[in-house]
Every structure is written in structure tokens, then in C-alpha cells.
């Protein structure tokens, strides 16, 4: 060992040839205190790839097993062969016996085969035979003392990659200069093409209402009409178009027209035949139409088919005898609804309700008329809880009927629409749900808050959603210049950051300015964190020289006081585009 220590100084000075030994593992010993472990290599040693002898194993246990069984012949080199200069090569050396390491590698005992492979004697590798003479195996000097030599972090050429400011990507070419390939680094610019067509509206200069409407029209045209989702998406864009045209005002009847416009397939609402499916709103059982109930007076069972005139006669006859209940019963079974309703409306409320439910039971469950009647009767319509289902049919007529006939309890109407939205959302028809929520004037919130129903309009790619919401915000601004959607500003910032990342820094910057101005209009201290992040993103897109505020808080001389994080105080963004000053405590 003394020999080793003596040689260490020489090694440190760059003369590894002074090193007296090598082992099949390369240098061993006590790395913690041995300076000779310094991976210094004098000229004359060629960089070896792969099979070269690099002291890489760090797991002491593996090393132990290996050494006990080692029959390896001489493996040249002890220092990690990372020397850059290429050399005139030595001759090839053929291994004398199959390497045990090779066996270990192939057996899969080691998890990191890279490390093991570095010990393998590969006949294709060239090395300087002169160097091999400097190393002579000393197996007796081996003793293992725990984790030894560090493995090379990267044994082969690889591709380091990182992002730079302004949408740049840095990529290192996996070249090996030692073999004559140039050491190149590529700088890429990321400009995802689709983004250019999806710029946020506020980025555009002199945005006019017509531009927004054209934008919406284009989106409608691009939506696929084959699927339900596509149709709903187009509908949402049409709504935004309508809103824009009306300067943000939402009138129920106009939107109803929009809804019905789309309903090309007029459904026929077939009455449900089975009594059991009918909604029984009263306790009494309904007379089965055409059922064989014998006439108590005459004892005869009325035939199933009857002329209306005959029915009226029967009805009148019963009333001659004051048998109103039976008359009603007869009228209902004979479909004389006018007569039945007239009579029952003048009787008690209970009878009237009974006749009414009898009437509505003749309608299909999913008939929009049912929805209207139920709503007008003071209940959340069944449609609000069942729509969206394929069997239930199109949701649109139901919403239409609610919107166009908003009389009476406004609160009930509101709740009915929201319930419908919730049901649609529950079935995954997000665009349809959002349409409903917009009708109900639900405020846009944020994802984290569970009670917030809508965050961004629509459910497609996030950029699309942000654009839809942007248009909505624009429409609101048309109606009320002070309109503001707090949670949405956050997503706008997210969008701005994406623009920056995708190589559109000036658009990102412009967008940040817009957000900043909107936030400032709300009061400087309302959204401090958001404002701070807007500045960060905005300044991050800057390609100009650093803002002067940093120069004032930092000091380049090492003898100065320790640099401290910038205190909250005055932050000045003095980029050529940003001119706002934010002061907050």
C-alpha cells in the first residue's frame, strides 16, 4: 500500500504510468482518503468506449462477489479513460477467456448493465498496448472497503436537452469528438404551428366586434356536425356569436330561436302505453282508457271505440243524474279532455288535479309540453333530471320551452335550468351543460372550488376553452365596460405562458399587458400574487436587457453584502413594451 501512496503524488501530477497496478476492477482502495483516485490521465491513453476498463462498480457487494470468483486476465487501464485526445491506436487484443463479467451481464444479476459492461473486454475496442504494460494485475492487494469508485455518470454520448427563453430548445448532438465527430449543440425554435391560428383575441390590435363575430362564425363552420358533441359545440359558438351581436345582452326568446334552429329532426313524442310508466301525481288510480269497466247504471261495458258525439251524449247523460265523477271518468276515457277539464276546473282542486294529471299522462314522458306543464305547476320538470339520455331525446326543445315561457316564479326557472345543466354535465355533455349555465347566468369560477360549475367554456382542448371564455368575456365587456371574470384571469395567464413557451414571446407579452391592465383596473391590491406572476411571465418573454430594478438590488463584487431576495417594494418593469409600475406592500 505504501507503494500506492507514493505513487499517488505522481498520479496527481499527471503521471498515471507511475501507478503500479491495476486489477480487474481498476483502482481500488479507500476513495475517501486516497488522492490517487483522482481521475487524471496523462496523454497517451485513448478514450475507450463501452468495453473499456472503467472503474464503475460502486456496489461493494457486487464487487465482492466478483472478485472472489474472478478469473479475469489482465484488463488494462486503471484510470477512467476519458481523455479527449485521439491517439494513434494500438493493436487489437483478443481476450483469452470468456469474461465472467460478460456472464454476469447476460445473466441479469446486475441492474445497471452499463456499469458492468464497462468492464467487459470487447475485442473490437482498441487500446494502446503500451499502456497495458504500465498496469500489472495485483490481485493480492485487493480488499474491499465498501462503496468504491463512482460510476461514470454518462458512459456514452447522449443528448442533453433543455429549454431556453423565448421558446428555444437546446439539444446536444450525441457525437464523440474522440472519434472525429464535431461537438455540436443545436438550438431549436419551437413554434407549434396551430398556435398561430389560435391566438387569443386580445392579442390582436384594434379588435372590432365584427372580428369577434367572424371568429365565432369560423368556429361554427369548423365544428363537426355528425356527432352530438360537435353539434353542441357549434351551438355554444353560435350563442357567443349571438351575445356578441347583442352586446352581451341575453334575451331568452332569442336564444330559444337559436335552440330550435338546430333541431332539424322534429321528434314525435309518442305516448307511453304502459300505465305503470306514467307519472302518478295524485293518489287515485286512473281509469284505463278503453278498459272494461261496466257502466253502473246500465250495466253494460262500453265499447272501446266510440264516436265523439256518442261520448258527449254519455257524458251529458251522466251529468243529468249528477254523477260528476263518473262523467269525468267517462270523458277522460273517451278523450273528451275539454269537457273534463272544464267540468273539473269548476269543482274542487283535487278533482281538477286528477283530471290534469290524467291529461298529461296521455303525453309522452319526454314531450316538451310535459316540461312546460310541470314547470308551470311549480315543479322542477322531469326533463331537467333526465335529459341527455338517448332515450329521452334531444335536450334542446326542453330548454327552449323553459326559456321562452318564463312566467311566475323566476327562482324556480333558474333552478330548473341549472338542474338541467347539472344533468347534462353528469352525462358528459359539457357544451350543452355550459349552454344551460350561461342561460342561468352562472358565474365562472375555478377548478379547485367544488361548487363552481363552470370554469372554462366547453370541454375540448384547453386552448379552445380559453378562447371561448375570452369571447364571452369580450361580449360581457361590450355590455358592461367594467365586467370582470376574476378566476378567468388566471387561465389567461396560463395561456400567455404557453404562448411564451411555444415561441411566440411578443404575443405572450402583449397578452400579459392586457391581463395586467385588467387587473389594475380592479384595484392594485386585489390580486397581488396573480399580478406578480403576470409580471414574471411578461418579463420572461423579454429579449431586451435586464430591467434596472435587478441591477439595484444585486451587486457584482463578492465583497458586498449577501444578495438578498428582492423585498417587496417598488418593482419596475421597464421593458420597451411594458410601462406599468406596480407598487404594493
Amino acid at each position: 500500500m505504501a507503494r500506492i501512496r507514493a505513487a499517488s503524488a505522481l498520479v496527481a501530477a499527471g503521471f498515471p504510468s507511475a501507478l503500479p497496478f491495476s486489477t480487474s476492477l481498476g483502482l481500488l482502495g479507500k476513495p475517501r482518503s486516497s488522492p490517487w483516485l483522482l481521475p487524471v490521465r496523462a496523454p497517451g491513453h485513448r478514450h475507450q468506449r463501452g468495453g473499456g476498463p472503467e472503474p464503475a462498480l460502486a456496489a461493494g457487494l457486487r464487487v465482492k462477489i466478483f472478485l472472489k470468483k474472478s478469473r479475469l486476465g489482465r484488463v488494462s487501464g486503471g484510470c477512467p479513460p476519458f481523455h479527449p485526445r485521439s491517439l494513434d491506436g494500438g493493436g487489437k487484443v483478443t481476450p483469452s477467456e470468456p469474461s465472467l463479467l460478460l456472464q454476469y451481464k447476460e445473466s441479469g444479476l446486475s441492474s445497471s448493465s452499463y456499469e458492468l459492461s464497462q468492464y467487459m473486454f470487447d475485442s473490437s475496442d482498441q487500446y494502446d498496448p503500451a499502456s497495458s504494460q504500465t498496469w500489472s494485475p495485483i490481485q493480492s492487494a485487493l480488499h474491499l472497503v465498501g462503496p468504491e469508485i463512482a460510476p461514470q455518470k454518462y458512459p456514452h454520448p447522449h443528448v442533453p436537452v433543455c429549454f431556453g427563453a423565448g421558446g428555444q430548445l437546446v439539444r446536444v448532438c450525441p457525437n464523440s469528438p474522440a472519434e472525429g465527430q464535431p461537438a455540436l449543440v443545436e438550438m431549436h425554435s419551437l413554434e407549434v404551428r396551430y398556435f398561430l391560428s389560435c391566438l387569443p383575441l386580445s392579442c390582436r390590435e384594434d379588435l372590432h366586434k365584427v372580428d369577434v363575430m367572424t371568429f365565432c362564425q369560423r368556429r361554427v363552420a369548423l365544428s363537426e356536425v355528425e356527432t352530438q358533441r360537435g353539434r353542441d359545440s357549434a351551438l355554444l359558438w353560435k350563442l357567443l356569436l349571438l351575445l356578441c351581436r347583442q352586446n352581451g345582452a341575453m334575451v331568452g326568446s332569442d336564444t330559444a330561436e337559436l335552440l330550435m334552429q338546430d333541431c332539424k329532426r322534429r321528434e314525435r313524442y309518442h305516448r307511453q302505453e304502459t300505465v305503470a310508466n306514467l307519472i302518478n301525481l295524485t293518489d287515485e288510480s286512473w281509469p284505463v282508457p278503453g278498459g272494461g269497466m261496466p257502466d253502473l247504471l246500465t250495466g253494460e261495458i262500453p265499447p272501446c271505440t266510440e264516436t265523439p258525439q256518442h261520448s258527449v251524449e254519455k257524458f251529458t247523460k251522466l251529468l243529468f243524474y249528477g254523477r260528476k265523477k263518473e262523467a269525468l271518468d267517462r270523458a277522460m276515457r273517451s278523450q273528451l279532455w275539454g269537457h273534463a277539464l272544464f267540468l273539473s276546473s269548476k269543482m274542487d282542486l283535487r278533482t281538477y288535479s286528477w283530471v290534469l294529471s290524467g291529461f298529461t299522462s296521455t303525453l309522452a314522458l319526454n314531450d316538451p309540453l310535459q316540461t312546460l306543464f310541470q314547470l308551470m305547476s311549480g315543479r322542477i320538470p322531469q326533463a331537467a333530471l333526465c335529459c341527455g339520455d338517448e332515450r329521452w331525446g334531444d335536450w334542446r326543445p326542453h330548454l327552449d320551452v323553459i326559456l321562452s315561457n318564463q312566467i311566475g316564479d323566476a327562482e324556480l326557472n333558474h333552478r330548473a335550468i341549472i338542474a338541467m345543466g347539472d344533468t347534462l354535465a353528469g352525462k358528459g355533455l359539457i357544451e350543452a351543460a355550459h349552454f344551460c349555465y350561461l342561460m342561468a347566468n352562472v358565474t365562472l369560477g375555478c377548478y379547485r372550488v367544488r361548487t363552481d360549475r363552470v370554469v372554462l367554456l366547453g370541454s375540448s382542448q384547453e386552448t379552445d376553452c380559453i378562447q371561448r371564455t375570452e369571447v364571452f368575456e369580450y361580449c360581457q365587456l361590450l355590455g358592461h365596460p367594467k365586467a370582470f371574470i376574476p378566476a378567468f384571469q388566471m387561465y389567461k395567464l396560463l395561456y400567455a405562458s404557453r404562448l411564451a413557451d411555444y415561441g411566440l414571446p411578443s404575443q405572450a407579452l402583449h397578452y400579459c399587458e392586457g391581463i395586467g391592465i385588467t387587473l389594475l383596473a380592479q384595484g392594485q391590491s386585489s390580486y397581488p400574487v396573480l399580478l406578480e406572476q403576470v409580471i414574471k411571465v411578461g418579463l420572461g418573454t423579454s429579449s431586451a436587457s435586464p430591467p434596472s430594478c435587478w441591477d439595484s438590488t444585486s451587486d457584482s463584487s463578492p465583497s458586498s453584502s449577501p444578495p438578498h431576495p428582492p423585498n417587496t417594494g417598488v418593482r419596475v418593469g421597464c421593458h420597451q413594451h411594458i410601462l406599468f409600475i406596480i407598487i404594493y406592500l
Binding site: 442533453p160 461537438a183 379547485r448 411555444y502 463578492p558
Partner: protein
């Protein structure tokens, strides 16, 4: 599309192990097995060598730029067990600090967010992680986490200085109470999260999913949304995305981004964490983006010299 705008011939004499752009994207630092660190001015498509820094005695594995508010500072770490901090003074680059406290190769260096001061984390093959803090007057304070990872530590990455969820909660304008955190990946197949408490560093979480050495970890930048995200890649060919939705940072769940056929060496987030770049043993770089429903999709394949490669995006398909 990804297009090449500049190719820098660094004239390194051996493999390049890292290339990092500075904060403004005007300078490029590279390091190599030839033991040197080089700095180039890459403005406007040019490549002017500014500095050729010598001082390491082994392959240099990684370089890291400090935040420009502290001046032009670059850190480098090497197989020679040293960490060197270089600084530009009066137009020339010089060594300003050399740390030799590790017993083995230092594999990774990463500067903390500038809000915390000038702090450098270093991960080494001796299993320890050192934290070097500049205290002024050329003095640096050292805190060491010994046995952070058995066998060795391969990568370190700091958490952003943003309180998760603060963008939504909008706390009052007082200075936020930051908790310093960073992630490390090691040869024990683990990703560990570390937290500073009362001036001491403690292991906060152990993230287990990989079946082989963790080669790189990257904590995603944040604008204050509630979710924290970490990417990790390993010898086992897998890349995991770890997310934590609660602000206390306790429950992390992994999502497998992809299983590659070879080791994955690097993962790197874009400046605003919208894109993840992954580079593997097949020497291919792929870019990944998360969609609205939480699925990760490959948006591009960046290969050498190929310039424009079609990006697979929904938007593009809609347009056609």
C-alpha cells in the same frame, strides 16, 4: 414544428454532457469530458466563444446558471469530486469558489429559486447532498445531507418559490412564507423530497416507482396553481410524472408518461412547465404536453438535423 435556428460548434474535445442557456437566452454554457466548461454568446444566431474555463480534473457532468440578479454566475460539477462556482468580473470569467467536500463524483448541481438567496444544491455519488449558501464577503456556508441516497445521488432539482394554490387563493400582499424544498433522484431507485425546517434539512417524502437507478428529476415551474408536478426518469426506461394536489405536499401520485426501450437520461421542463422534453438512450428527444383530461401526449419528435418535424396536435387536425 421544431426548426433549427443555430448550430454551435463548441470545439470540445470529448463528449458534451450538458448545455444550458442563461436566463435571457443570450448565452450558452457547455461542459464536457474534456474537463472544460465553455461559454458562448449565441445572440442572433451567432456563436462567439466568451470563455473556456479550466479547473476541473475530470469529466464535467453539469452546469447551472444562477439568476442574473446575482450577476453572471455559473456552477459546474465534475467526476473529480469538485463543485466550482465561476463568476464574470469586469468582463472576465474566473473561479470564485471551489467546494471539495464530497468523497466521490459530483453528479448534479442546481441553483435554488432566487427568492431564497444564492444557494446551490449538489448531489454526489458518495450518496450525500450538499447545500452551499453564499453568505457574503466571498463566504459560503455548507450544509450536508449524508446518506441521502444509498450508492449515490444522480440528480437534484429545486421546487419553485411559489406557494401552491396561491394564484387562486390570492393571499394578502404580505411576503409569502416559503418552505424551501427540492427533489433528488438516486441509485436506490428512489426520488426523495427534502424540506427545510428550522434551518435543518429533512427527508419529507420517498417516491417509489422506478425499478432501477433514477437518472434525472425535474420539478416543474409553477405559476401558483394548486398542483405540484415532478418528472423523473430512470435506467428502467420509464418516465413518471408525479403530481400533488394538496397544498401540504403530502400525497404524491405517479403517472407513467411512457416506457421507453432504453435508459432515459434527461427530463426537462419548459420555462412555464407546459412542455416536457425527454431524452433517452436511443438519442431521441420527444416533447410531451398534458391535455385537458390529464393525459400526456407526445407532440413532437426532435431528431438531429431534421429541422421541421410535424407536430401532432388536435388543433392542426381541426384545421385540415
Amino acid at each position: 414544428m421544431v426548426s433549427v435556428i443555430n448550430t454551435v460548434d463548441t470545439s470540445h474535445e470529448d463528449m458534451i454532457h450538458d448545455a444550458q442557456m442563461d436566463y435571457y437566452g443570450t448565452r450558452l454554457a457547455t461542459c464536457s469530458s474534456d474537463r472544460s466548461v465553455k461559454i458562448f454568446d449565441v445572440r442572433n444566431g451567432g456563436q462567439i466563444l466568451i470563455a473556456d474555463l479550466r479547473g476541473h480534473e475530470g469529466p464535467v457532468w453539469q452546469v447551472a446558471w444562477a439568476h442574473p440578479m446575482y450577476g453572471n454566475i455559473l456552477a459546474s460539477c465534475s467526476y473529480d469530486r469538485k463543485v466550482i462556482v465561476w463568476k464574470e468580473e469586469n468582463g472576465t470569467w474566473e473561479k470564485t469558489y471551489e467546494y471539495t467536500g464530497h468523497d466521490s463524483s459530483v453528479n448534479s448541481v442546481c441553483w435554488a429559486p432566487h427568492d431564497y438567496g444564492l444557494i446551490l444544491a449538489c448531489g454526489s455519488s458518495d450518496g450525500a447532498i450538499s447545500l452551499l449558501s453564499y453568505t457574503g464577503d466571498g463566504q459560503w456556508e455548507v450544509k450536508k445531507i449524508s446518506n441521502a441516497h444509498t450508492i449515490g445521488c444522480n440528480a437534484v432539482s429545486w421546487a419553485p418559490a411559489v406557494v401552491p394554490g396561491s394564484l387562486i387563493d390570492q393571499p394578502s400582499g404580505q411576503k409569502p412564507n416559503y418552505i424551501k424544498r427540492f427533489a433528488s433522484g438516486g441509485c436506490d431507485n428512489l426520488v426523495k423530497l427534502w424540506k427545510e425546517e428550522d434551518g435543518q434539512w429533512k427527508e419529507e417524502q420517498k417516491l417509489e416507482a422506478h425499478s432501477d437507478w433514477v437518472r434525472d428529476v425535474a420539478w416543474a415551474p409553477s405559476i401558483g396553481l394548486p398542483t405540484s408536478t415532478i418528472a423523473s426518469c430512470s435506467q428502467d426506461g420509464r418516465v413518471f410524472i408525479w403530481t400533488c394536489d394538496d397544498t401540504s405536499g403530502n400525497s404524491w401520485s405517479p403517472k407513467l408518461l411512457h416506457k421507453f426501450n432504453d435508459v432515459v437520461w434527461h427530463v426537462s421542463w419548459s420555462i412555464t412547465a407546459n412542455i416536457l422534453a425527454v431524452s433517452g438512450g436511443d438519442n431521441k428527444v420527444t416533447l410531451w404536453k398534458e391535455s385537458v383530461d390529464g393525459l400526456w401526449a407526445c407532440i413532437s419528435d426532435v431528431n438531429k438535423g431534421q429541422g421541421a418535424v410535424s407536430a401532432i396536435t388536435e388543433g392542426q387536425q381541426n384545421e385540415q
